[in-house]
């Protein structure tokens, strides 16, 4: 008897996502939804969406979602979690939201050991505004605001948020993964599941940094973008468990 072994998770809606072809966001959205289904927490979840490409994540997720001002995402999650300690609260943030304008909020939420989960999608550019340099843009990478490539003397270095947060006593679990191949995607899902599990067990702050593709603003095909993650990005952002 034929069985349906892979389908859209219940925690996702039927809406067609607005992301560009090959964008990593869609994969991460689905992984989060699959984990929520598997943990049976769809009716207990409150998500905080970022400002950036993923701002309208609430159109694609079938659970409670709020927006936040740019970068204040973990502060909003803090407010929700403190009021609803038995619910599962997570933020979904891009690199502009989390690693630039929201650095203060992410560091202090982590340092307060807020019992929340952070899904940090690092694709190294500002997608929504037109492919400008992000703090995570790699050295030499060309963007709308680094026409000659990111220059460390002018633009500084790619910021390694996961490594920074891992040294804080307030963090419980931090892992960096990628969504560049089925193998890495399966690892990413495991990491997301672990992160939510940590929150459910009241063990504190958990974050998964996910290297994702932005074929449009990397100027590459979807496949080449995946290859870039595995060949180049991992040199700047090594994959693996940083803490926990």
């Amino acid at each position: 008897m034929e069985k349906l072994i892979f389908k859209k998770p219940e925690a996702m809606t039927d809406a067609v996502m607005h992301y560009c072809a090959g964008c990593g966001h869609g994969i991460v959205h689905r992984l989060v939804a699959e984990v929520i289904d598997e943990l049976g927490i769809r009716e207990k979840v409150v998500a905080v969406a970022p400002v950036g490409c993923a701002v309208i994540a609430y159109d694609y997720w079938n659970f409670d979602v709020t927006e936040a001002a740019h970068g204040r995402t973990p502060a909003v999650a803090t407010g929700i979690k403190r009021v609803l300690p038995d619910k599962v609260i997570f933020t979904y943030q891009g690199d502009g939201d989390l690693a630039a304008i929201g650095t203060s909020e992410i560091i202090h939420s982590a340092n307060r050991a807020e019992n929340i989960t952070v899904i940090f999608v690092n694709n190294g550019v500002y997608g929504m505004t037109g492919g400008q340099m992000a703090p995570t843009t790699t050295v030499g990478q060309k963007t709308a605001t680094t026409k000659a490539g990111r220059n460390i003397r002018r633009d500084g270095f790619p910021i390694k948020i996961s490594e920074m947060l891992a040294v804080l006593e307030g963090t419980t679990y931090i892992e960096r993964t990628a969504v560049s191949s089925p193998k890495e995607i399966i690892k990413t899902k495991k990491a997301i599941k672990k992160a939510f599990g940590i929150q459910i067990k009241n063990e504190g702050f958990s974050m998964v940094e996910i290297l994702a593709t932005c074929p449009t603003y990397w100027g590459q095909s979807s496949q080449d973008a995946c290859t870039r993650i595995e060949k180049e990005l991992v040199k700047t952002y090594p994959l693996g468990v940083l803490k926990g």
């Binding site: 034929e2 069985k3 349906l4 072994i5 892979f6 389908k7 859209k8 996702m12 067609v16 996502m17 992301y19 560009c20 072809a21 090959g22 964008c23 990593g24 966001h25 869609g26 994969i27 689905r30 969504v179 191949s181 089925p182 995607i185 399966i186 074929p215 095909s221 979807s222 496949q223 995946c226």
Partner: protein, 69 residues
């Protein structure tokens, strides 16, 4: 026998599934969907080879693929 079902109206033709399929059963289609996008489709000659590994569904950013086994 395993098989996959592709929701062509959701497909954006990124081709990630084409590249990960170990049996080469997915290919770009000449057909356009309602959005005017060239989607992927099943390579009729090779579809019998599907093992239901679900790699295509796992990497699909638009949740277009269902896998039956």
């Amino acid at each position: 026998m395993a098989r996959i079902k592709i929701d062509k109206e959701k497909c954006k033709g990124c081709m990630l599934c084409v590249n990960v399929c170990p049996k080469g059963i997915i290919a770009m289609s000449v057909k356009l969907n309602k959005k005017g996008v060239h989607t992927v489709g099943l390579n009729r000659a090779a579809r019998e080879k599907c093992t239901g590994c679900a790699f295509c569904a796992i990497i699909c950013p638009d949740v277009c693929i269902e896998v039956y086994r």
